[in-house]
C-alpha cells in the first residue's frame, strides 16, 4: 500500500479533563492540569453566533481555533474536514422527541443546525473561508477516516488542511445506542511541507484488516479513549505530545492505518 507523508503544524484538544494540547502534554508529564469550563469558549465564533451555536459547533470551533492559532496560518484559506461519528446528539434527541409528539412544532433553527456539516458551516462563515469544506463520519473509525481524507487533500492538491474530529456526549434515549459518555474534540492543521511551525511528520500506511482486536497500548487512560468515538485520536495526540513513536488507527471498519510519527520541532 502507498504511504502518505504529511506534517502537523497545529493541534487543538478539548475534553472534560483537557482544555488544550498543552494540558495533554502536562498531564502526560505527570503534572496536575486545571479542569476546563464545561462550555468551550470557541472564541473564533462571533459573540452572537457563540451564544446560539449548538454544542457540536462550540466543540469543533474551539479545537479548530486552537490548532489554527498554533499553526500561524490564516483560517480563511484552509480547506477543512470536520469528522464526527454522531453529529450533535442533543439536537438529534430533541428532533426525534419532538417529531414523535408534536412534529409541526419542530424548531427551524435546530433543524438547520442538525445537518452533519453544521460545524463546517459555522466555521467557514466565522472565518470567511471559501475553500472546500467537508463533513464526514465512519462510525468508530471517524478520526482515522477523517485523517485519511484530510491527508489525501493535503497530498493531492499540495495544500494545508484543517482536520477536526469531535463528538458531543450522548443525550436522552439515544445515549443507549451511541454510548458516548463524554464530549471529546481535537483538531490538527496538516501541511504538505515542513514549515516554521511544524511539530511532527506523520507517515500513514493503510493496512488491510480490522484492528479492533489489536491491543491499544497508549499513555492515555483507556477510559478516556472509550468515552467517545472521537477520542480514538488520543493515542496519536499522545505521540504528538511526547515527540515520536507509532500507533495504529482504524481508517475504516475493515482497514487499519499505521501512523509513524517523527518530531520536527
Amino acid at each position: 500500500m502507498s504511504m502518505l507523508s504529511i506534517y502537523v503544524d497545529g493541534v487543538g484538544v478539548w475534553s472534560p479533563a483537557l482544555g488544550d494540547f498543552a494540558a495533554l502534554r502536562a498531564m502526560l508529564a505527570g503534572e496536575t492540569v486545571p479542569v476546563p469550563p464545561a462550555r468551550p469558549p470557541a472564541a473564533t465564533l462571533p459573540a452572537n453566533e457563540r451564544r446560539r451555536a449548538p454544542e457540536s459547533v462550540l466543540l469543533a470551533a474551539e479545537v479548530a481555533g486552537q490548532a489554527v492559532a498554533m499553526s500561524g496560518r490564516d483560517a480563511a484559506t484552509l480547506a477543512c474536514v470536520f469528522a464526527s461519528s454522531h453529529g450533535d446528539q442533543p439536537i438529534t434527541d430533541y428532533m426525534c422527541a419532538t417529531l414523535a409528539g408534536t412534529p409541526a412544532e419542530l424548531s427551524p433553527t435546530r433543524f438547520h443546525n442538525s445537518v452533519h456539516n453544521a460545524p463546517a458551516g459555522y466555521w467557514t462563515i466565522a472565518t470567511g473561508c471559501h475553500a472546500p469544506s467537508n463533513a464526514v463520519c465512519a462510525q468508530r473509525a471517524s478520526f482515522g477516516a477523517g485523517l485519511l481524507e484530510a491527508a489525501c487533500l493535503v497530498r493531492a492538491d499540495a495544500q494545508p488542511v484543517l482536520l477536526v474530529c469531535s463528538d458531543t456526549a450522548g443525550s436522552g434515549p439515544l445515549l443507549e445506542v451511541t454510548g458516548c459518555a463524554a464530549p471529546f474534540a481535537c483538531a490538527l492543521v496538516l501541511a504538505p511541507q515542513r514549515g516554521a511551525c511544524t511539530l511532527a511528520r506523520l507517515d500513514l500506511h493503510l493496512c488491510p484488516g480490522s484492528i479492533t482486536d489489536a491491543p491499544a497500548a497508549s499513555a492515555v487512560p483507556a477510559d478516556w479513549v472509550a468515552s467517545s468515538p472521537s477520542a480514538s485520536a488520543l493515542p496519536l495526540l499522545a505521540l504528538l505530545a511526547q515527540g515520536a513513536g507509532r500507533c495504529r488507527l482504524m481508517a475504516a471498519g475493515s482497514l487499519g492505518m499505521d501512523v509513524h510519527l517523527e518530531e520536527c520541532a
Binding site: M1, S2, L4, S85, H86, G87, T92, M95, C96, L99, A100, P103, A104, L106, S107, P108, F111, H112, V115, H116, N117, A118, A120, G121, Y122, T124, I125, T127, C129, H130, A131, P132, S133, N134, A135, V136, C137, A138, Q139, A145, L148, E149, C152, L153, R155, A156, D157, P173, L174, E176, V177, T178, G179, L206, P208, G209, A252, G253, S254, L255
Partner: protein, 401 residues
Amino acid sequence: MLPPIIPLAIRAFTATSALGRGLAAHHDALQAAHSGLRANDFSSAPLECWVGRVGGLEHVALPEALSTWECRNNRLAWLGLQQDGFLDAVTAARERYGAARVALLMGTSTASIGATEEAYRRLDPDGGFPDDMLRPPIHAPHSLAGFLAAALGLEGPCLTISTACSSSAKVFASAERMLRLGLIDAAVVGGVDTLCDSVLFGFNALELVSRAPCRPFDSARNGISIGEAAGFALLERADAAPDAPRLLGYGEASDAHHMSTPHPQGLGAELALRDALARAGLEPAQVDYINLHGTASQKNDEVEAALIARAFPASTRASSTKGFTGHTLGAAGILEAVIALLAIEHGLVPGNLGGADPDPACGPQFAWHNEQRAVDVALSNSFGFGGNNACLAFARAERRA
C-alpha cells in the same frame, strides 16, 4: 488555477428514484416529461405537500445475513444496487483489484434517521429504545456506508460524506484524490437518502416546502418538494474501461455566508464551477448541458439562474430535474450525476419540468422543454446547507481530454 486531472472511467452507474428503478425507467420518464411526484402520503402526521417517493420500498427485504441493517434507507440502497447490473460490476472490481483496493464513498444527509425517529415513537415504558431497534449501527450517520461495506464485501477506505445536499457529489472528488494518490484502484461512489419526518417537518419549519409540486425557476415558485433516491457509480482509471463515460473534473467551495440561505451573488457556487472547469480543462462554451441544483426555493433559483446567465453562452443548455424527482437531498448529487450521464448517452437535454412561467433571471440557456441534441460534456451542480457547493463535469468516452 488548478491543473487538469486525468479523467476517470465511470464503468457502471445506476439510479432509483420516484421515476422508477434503474436507468431505463429514468430515461423513459425524462423522455416523456413525466413527473414522479405525488401528494404526500408518507409523513407520520399529515403535512400538505408533494413528495418523490420510491414505490414498493415497503416490500423490499434485506438478505437474512444483513438483517441487522434493516431500515428504509438501507432497503432503498439494496434495491438500488440490484439495478443495471451494478452489483455484478462491483463484484467484478472486487475480484479484479482485491477488496482492500476498492473504496466505498457514500453521501447522505440523514442516513437512517427515520429508524431513530421510529424508535422514539415506540419507546419502552422505561423510556428506552424497543428491543428490535437496539441496533446501534443504524442509529449513526455511517449506517448507509456500513451496510454497503457488508453487502458488497469491500474492505478498503470507507467514508460517509454528509454535507447536506452536496453530499453525494463530493464523493466523486474524494474518490479521484484516492485514485490519483494510488491508495485504491476503484471506488464505489454514490448516495442514498429516504423520506423521513426530520426533513419533511424540518424544511416545513423553515417555510421552504411547497404545498404544490415544485416549480424550479418558475416566477411563481414557492418551495421544494422532497424526494428520495439511491444512486451509485463505479469509478476506475480510464485505461481499465476505455469505452466508459468519463469524470472530467470537480469543484468544491464554501459560501462563508449563511447556514440555510445561499450567498446572494452565488460566490461559492461560482468558485466550485470555476474549479470544476479548470480541473476538466474546459472553457464554458464547451459545456453542452448543465443539470442545475434548481430546488424551486426562492433564493437558490434566483442565485443559480444569475450564475448560469453570466457564465455560459446560449449554446450551453441548462435545466433542473427536481420537478421530476423532487429534491432528494443527500442523494441529489448522484441522482443528477446519473441524469447528466443519461443526457450524454441518449443526446437528451431534459426539459425544466415545472417552469411554465420562467423567472426573468433565467437566460437563454434554459431548456424549458426536452431537446434532442448531442451532449458531449455535461455538468451537475449540487449546493447544500452551510454554504457547501460542488460541481461535477462528465463527458462521453470519445472526448479524450
